[in-house]
């Protein structure tokens, strides 16, 4: 699996959706089960998979699929 596939599969598993549903609109305002529990689980899985530690601000901003991609760039993760 390349990085993007790993990234997508974490989203898919966390929110119990198919990877094909992940797009720019996928985020806290459109996904019903996106709450603090899923967000914590998402961030933890991303950190473990890519061996990074996100800053507080980045965790608080981690609220859509596209923003998450942007944030990972800051940590030198190429998707």
């Amino acid at each position: 699996m390349n990085n993007l596939e790993k990234f997508n599969s974490i989203f898919a598993e966390t929110f119990n959706v198919d990877s094909s549903q992940l797009n720019e609109n996928f985020g806290i305002d459109t996904v019903a089960n996106w709450d603090s529990v899923t967000q914590l689980s998402l961030v933890t899985a991303i950190e473990d998979e890519f061996n990074i530690m996100l800053d507080t601000d980045d965790i608080l901003d981690f609220k859509t699929y596209s923003i998450a991609k942007e944030i990972l760039k800051k940590y030198q993760i190429e998707l």
Partner: protein
Amino acid sequence: MFLNIDLHKSDAIALVDDSGLSITFNELITKSNEFYKLIDKRTLIFILADNSIESFIAFYSCIQNKVVPLLLSSNTNEELLNNLYEKYVPEFIYKIPSNNWRPKNENIVATYLKENGFELIQTNNINPILFDELSFLLPTSGSTGSPKLVRHSYTNLDSSAKNVSELFKIDNTHTAIAFLPMYYTMGLSVIMSHLNSGAKVVLTNYSLTDRLFWNLMKEQKVTTFTGVPYSFELLDKLRFFRMPLPDLKIITQGGGKLKEDLFIKFAQYATDKLIQFIPTYGQTEGTARMAFLEPSMTQLKVGSIGKAIPNGYLGVINNSGEEILITEAEGEMIYKGKNVTLGYAECKEDLTKGDDNKDVLITGDIVKRDADGFYFIIGRKKRFLKIYGYRISLDEVEMLIKNQFHIECICSGNDEQLIIKIEDLSLANQVQAYISDKTNLFHQCISVQQLENLARNEVGKVILTN
């Protein structure tokens, strides 16, 4: 007056909420009187609450004026609301605009529109008979849809507010953040104990992963933070230990057992910052808190729930129900105090019942008491889990699955995961999705596994061996 509101500085701020509203102690009294004028008698009301000033005024007004509220989440689903409505037949419903549930039209006598879109609905239901000492009701489980309620007395509320205020040494210079919901015993305890001492309470519906929550913490100069184990996991993840929060003085924890590594981290953080970390123990049946650990002991007694709260008593009983008097002991924990609730209700007839518990609560928690008299929870007798601060009854989950799928199942688990064992694993995804929907539990906390060697007796009835 309830929570001594009339004894506090009348123009001091009592409550602040997310909408930017704030009210003084004096305004709380005025608004509470206005609310009661619409009801004007002792009767039963459902309050579909969020953490807003409007919701709290309604609750306060009810207690002060001897109206009996059932406090419910504003997110309570239609099915459960219908069930509760049929079982308890309230005369009034107070609800926030975001919940669309309403009683049947033919039941509605009048609707009063209040501030921020809140609605007070009066029905033609007959005013039920209520035990004189009954103050209010809370669900035993916020999630599995059980209509079983805990009956509280007026004494419960007064003594809980006073005792908790005493144990945290709350004064009018304190500001608490209340993000735990007020329809949850500990959330309500945070609000009551602070108002009782003239302190300010910041009500919020924001979650810890919301930037606005942290803005509120800073802007309102919050001194006191109370969370459940899951909140502390979020704090840890959010690099809380590196956040500049110069006003924070007291961190209190309840709602279940904190993992040991987190317990140690927070005890160390508090020691380093010269602030207080106070782990506590409680249950809805004890009007929230029953035990607490002195902040000075958190490094010495890691994982302990401490000793009884002021004016409370903790003990250990053996299998025959006799109290063990030797200090070092293991067994089921009991609690005695004025905050022990009256008992349960399962239908409106139960609201006439008196005090079943007589100040004594058999907690269902198995404890170890060490040589210094400190208590440690080591197990649980009752069949429920506490996941993310929610109480999940295993019996209720089994019943839900049996009713929906008509299959056998056995539930178990720990405070991180609910394990459901079924025979036909092809139903695993459906069962997981159904229970996740019903309980609001994160689907990754629900593990559906193979049920092996299901023993049945000769008439085909399942024999539970574990």
